[in-house]
């Protein structure tokens, strides 16, 4: 009886093992066929805070605004690629991977191809050091390198790659790194906007800076779970909380208007209007604080 039971045990275990092996093999074959970046996933590592999720707008959208406002390209606003080798810990590397991602978007939108090549090289290097090169597989790298002269394609591929990196980090229980990349990107894009406005007053860009109130609140909520992880996190989050007080002083007026729907094109036009009232003093204070935070990120 004991032997029989043992036989059955072995058979069951072997059965499960064969089932698992068959599954793993079929999955492997499927992955080989895939052309795009694929990452392993686990539903147990969701970015989920009491079923509430927070978004931070893409830094590339800010760069589009600058270009549309006919603001000239200015390399001085960017973090020099030569700084990359000076970041020694993962905290700084992840933040600056976000910074350089925003820089790559900026140089790409302004069609500065040589700069785009340099910034991409730095991002690739940081991704390797952070062990997230899995999101930058050779096919993607080759696609990026081939599309350096194609502004739209490059931006599409780079943004998709950053999303894959975000998923890769969440899947591998490294949400903290993903959040830091997001943070670096946000800080850099707001910093560039404040620098543009400081050189030449631009109402559209100033309003866009004022509109960062909710993205900043979202960023603080995303970062908060890591507050006790290290002193670096504490300093960073405290600086954002301090900055949030200045954003709170900005006056917002929102008026709802009925949206219009174009069913054929699956398009809803949101007609509500937000008015942002930001004084030069408020702008100056925000600019100074952003510059201080940015210096602490890109400094070494």
């Amino acid at each position: 009886m004991y032997l029989n039971h043992n036989n059955w045990s072995v058979r069951i275990v072997l059965g499960i093992f064969v089932l698992f092996a068959a599954y793993a093999c079929s999955n492997e074959e499927e992955k080989e066929k895939e052309l795009e970046v694929k990452v392993d996933s686990s539903a147990s590592t969701m970015l989920k805070f009491n079923n509430t999720l927070f978004s931070v707008p893409s830094p590339h959208q800010m760069a589009f605004l600058a270009k549309n406002q006919k603001v000239d390209y200015n390399k001085e606003f960017l973090n020099p690629t030569s700084n990359a080798s000076k970041y020694t810990n993962d905290f700084k590397k992840a933040l600056n991977m976000g910074v350089y991602g925003a820089n790559l978007g900026y140089v790409n939108i302004y069609e500065q191809n040589q700069d785009a090549i340099n910034y991409f090289a730095v991002i690739k290097s940081l991704a390797t050091q952070l062990n997230i090169i899995g999101a930058f597989n050779p096919k993607v790298i080759s696609r990026i390198e081939k599309n350096m002269n194609n502004k739209d394609s490059l931006l599409y591929i780079v943004s998709t790659t950053y999303r894959n990196a975000d998923q890769y980090l969440k899947d591998n229980r490294r949400d903290d790194m993903g959040v830091l990349i997001l943070t670096g990107g946000w800080v850099e894009s707001v910093y560039i906007m404040t620098q543009i406005c400081a050189k030449q007053k631009n109402d559209e860009i100033m309003y866009r800076i004022g509109e960062q109130k909710h993205p900043l609140e979202n960023l603080i909520k995303i970062l908060s779970p890591f507050y006790n992880q290290s002193e670096e996190y504490q300093k960073l989050i405290d600086a954002f909380i301090d900055l949030a007080y200045d954003f709170d002083a900005i006056d917002f007026k929102y008026n709802y208007e009925e949206p219009t729907v174009d069913v054929k094109n699956k398009l809803t036009t949101v007609n509500g209007k937000t008015e942002v009232i930001i004084s030069p003093e408020q702008f100056k204070k925000i600019s100074e604080k952003i510059e201080k935070i940015r210096t602490s990120i890109v400094g070494y």
Binding site: D40, M46, P57, S153
Partner: protein
């Protein structure tokens, strides 16, 4: 011997479960990314929540004026099982895909910057539990 057997089955079952869940997530993602194609550029993030029955995932986002966005929301590898609704910060309903056969994506043109709340829940007539994935793309 019995203990070893139980531990072994446990380990294999957990590994198998994780692998199945990984495939589920990848399936949902692979399906959802098809909707964020050129000219829409990803916002660089991926949002997901595990939903059961009437659970609702709430999602806070800022959409800039002058931009057009595409929101894609999926669960599983077929369409129509996820309901998503977009509200402004005063909770005015701006859109719900319930009105359009639970379509997995919709475009939104924002005249002015609006802070929005997106709610996602399973259509319990089709599905009672599953992983919900939401992606955002923008075009200028």
């Amino acid at each position: 011997m019995k203990k070893v057997f139980i531990i072994l089955v446990g380990i294999i079952s957990i590994t198998f479960y994780v692998a199945v869940m990984a495939q589920t997530t990848d399936e949902v993602m692979n399906h959802c990314v098809k909707f964020i194609t050129h000219p829409y550029i990803s916002d660089g993030q991926q949002y997901r929540a595990l939903l059961n029955e009437d659970e609702v995932a709430e999602f806070h986002a800022t959409f800039y004026g002058g931009s057009t966005y595409r929101i894609a929301a999926c669960t599983g590898n077929s369409d129509g099982a996820l309901i998503f609704s977009v509200y402004d910060s005063d909770r005015h309903l701006l859109f719900t895909n319930r009105d359009y056969e639970n379509t997995p994506y919709w475009d939104f043109k924002f005249k002015s910057t609006v802070d929005c709340i997106i709610e996602a829940q399973l259509d319990n007539k089709i599905k009672n539990s599953g992983l919900a994935v939401m992606l955002i793309g923008f075009k200028q």
